[in-house]
């Protein structure tokens, strides 16, 4: 099988989805003394074409699915699906990362488990940790959180549904900074 070049893969996606590809980037990394290289592709696509994009990806080769990364940016939730293509030959594998944005008021995602069954664990993780509803994903119990865990708290969220403590002015501040002095005072 003739492998597509990273540039050709990006072109293929752009041809099919035109302006729906918000961002695309190819990175070339080198390693070792001989400075051999491998490539990574980063794509950002509009939510409505996301499933189509995964379908298109499956026509190139059945991809290996790694995991979904989540990012709560405040207004929306960014999900990045990490795939890789062309295993089995030296230096041929291409990592492909497809990002899509979900508006906070409608956290719905099409499931890709009908195309790639191995994605189930990760989708269930996103469901319980991020509060994302996956359409057509069977309603299975929690994978990582206790079964009786609150259905209104999502640990990876950085808004009022997350589990971050409040700051001095009563607002969540990016979720990353915890006011240690305040915490100490509480203990005292």
């Amino acid at each position: 099988m003739e492998h597509m070049k990273p540039g050709e893969i990006v072109e293929l996606f752009k041809e099919k989805f035109n302006d729906s590809i918000i961002n695309s980037r190819i990175e070339i990394k080198t390693a070792g003394l001989k400075k051999n290289s491998y490539s990574l592709i980063w794509l950002e696509i509009e939510l409505k074409y996301f499933k189509e994009a995964v379908k298109l990806l499956c026509t190139i080769q059945f991809p290996h699915f790694a995991i979904i990364s989540d990012n709560d940016t405040g207004e929306e939730v960014k999900l990045t699906y990490h795939f890789s293509l062309y295993y089995g030959e030296r230096f041929k594998e291409i990592s492909l990362n497809i990002t899509t944005n979900l508006p906070k008021n409608n956290l719905k995602m099409p499931t890709i488990t009908d195309l790639i069954p191995g994605a189930q664990t990760s989708e269930r993780e996103m469901k319980e940790m991020m509060g994302i509803t996956f359409e057509n994903l069977p309603d299975l119990p929690n994978v990582f959180l206790p079964i009786d865990f609150s259905k209104d708290v999502f640990p990876f969220r950085k808004d009022e549904k997350g589990i971050y403590p409040l700051s001095k002015n009563g607002k969540h501040i990016g979720g990353n900074i915890i006011d240690k002095e305040e915490e100490v005072k509480k203990v005292e």
């Binding site: 995991i67 890789s84 994605a119 664990t121 990582f144 990353n176």
Partner: protein, 407 residues
């Protein structure tokens, strides 16, 4: 005939493996009809903790995700940060990283071989293989100061050099394993009882391995030539000719059973010895760390905006880390994925149709980093009678089966 099934929950804690996990089985007679997996008993929220720490602090947190893969997680994490920040690791640092990672593979695979022996009822194999494992642990202690949690990895390279004086000691260990490899192969691949207990047991077909995105020796034993060290060579692996090992190299056929998983791991042991030898021969001189002043490094990372992924072929399969830096003290996102995460779903097709006595070896055959069982409750649905099978009983069942079929 009334086809009544019984449910057996196995888990959540088992002393022979590292982490707890629950398996719920539907059993008809001795045969497994359905499998429900329920992990999460050991979810410590490490990613959440990491999102409140700076990248250098996360290295040590990543190291403690797993005691056995304590080089693999920092390896992948450091790569992810380096990719995000555009830091180049000096070549010598890359070679030392590979040497430590391969030593870890040797100790992990021997540890697994011992557990496999134990699950089958060959406890002498457990003692002998774990005795053999001590040699590489001693070497790791000699090189890094610790048997596990080596503390060698740093963003931009490694913290400790391998000096000229240390190389003879490394070679001594390599010779030791070359000497005893014949014996290990003899025990696992030529013993008729082990073959009886492991051949055609816990089969994972090539299609299932692909569909369910299995990784590591589990997927390679099913005939998929997938190995990050080969497919996307990173670090010093780019200079070394690493080939994904499938069982047909030795046996000429691929069955995807427990036996094939043993074959793959044993062959990878030899491969690791060869990789370390190549590294020692070709290791360039020079710096081992891109930026020695850690305060400066932290400042640089604090001003960085970008995202990166790090992949490493750990003993159990691909470890995947994703980091997003957003000009802040702490990373915006840190996502870590261990190989067992992907090897979770393939357990179902492996276990279906097998017997209760095969549960321990089939579960152990993917080398899970999640533990399975402490005790088993068999609930008789018909009369509500409850009997508890302890880990000892379950182990005894497995031992009895081995004795029964021994020729």
């Amino acid at each position: 005939m009334n086809k009544k099934t019984y449910s057996i929950p196995i888990g959540p804690v088992h002393p022979s493996l590292e982490e707890p996990m629950t398996f719920n089985f539907e059993i008809y007679g001795e045969r497994i009809e359905k499998v429900y997996l329920a992990p999460g008993d050991n979810h410590r929220g490490i990613e959440f903790m990491g999102r409140q720490r700076n990248p250098i602090q996360i290295i040590y947190l990543a190291e403690r995700i797993c005691g056995i893969c304590s080089a693999s997680h920092p390896f992948a994490f450091c790569q992810a940060v380096e990719n995000a920040a555009g830091i180049e690791v000096p070549e010598r640092g890359q070679y030392i990283r590979v040497i430590i990672a391969e030593l870890e593979r040797i100790h992990s695979h021997i540890l697994w071989a011992g557990i496999a022996g134990h699950e089958l009822g060959f406890d002498s194999v457990l003692y002998i293989s774990w005795r053999a494992r001590e040699e590489v642990l001693d070497l790791l202690e000699y090189l890094t100061g610790n048997r596990i949690n080596y503390g060698v990895f740093m963003i931009g390279g490694v913290r400790r050099d391998i000096t000229e004086e240390q190389i003879p000691r490394i070679r001594k260990t390599l010779e030791y394993y070359k000497d005893i490899y014949g014996k290990i192969e003899d025990i696992f691949l030529k013993d008729p009882t082990i073959a009886l207990r492991t051949k055609n047991v816990g089969v994972l077909t090539k299609e299932d391995a692909l569909r369910l995105c299995a990784v590591g020796p589990t997927t390679r034993a099913s005939g998929i030539k997938k190995d990050v060290r080969q497919d996307q060579p990173y670090s010093a692996y780019a200079d070394l000719n690493v080939k994904a090992i499938t069982p047909d190299v030795l046996t000429g056929e691929v069955n995807g059973d427990v036996y094939d998983r043993i074959v793959v791991r044993l062959l990878e042991l030899v491969q690791s010895l060869e990789i370390i030898e190549q590294c020692l021969e070709n290791m360039p001189s020079g710096e081992i760390l891109a930026e020695k002043k850690l305060v400066k490094l932290l400042n640089q990372l604090k001003k960085t905006k970008g995202e990166g992924i790090g992949r490493h072929e750990a003993p159990r399969g691909e470890v995947f880390h994703y980091v997003k830096l957003a000009e802040a003290e702490v990373p915006e996102i840190w996502k870590a994925r261990a190989p067992t995460y992907n090897n979770l779903m393939p357990w179902a097709p492996m276990l279906l149709g097998e017997q209760i006595a095969d549960i321990p070896i089939v579960i152990a055959s993917t080398d899970p980093c999640i533990a399975c069982m402490d005790r088993v409750t068999i609930l008789n649905k018909a009369n509500g009678q409850k009997s508890i099978l302890t880990n000892k009983d379950l182990h005894e069942l497995s031992v009895q089966k081995t004795r029964r079929i021994t020729p």
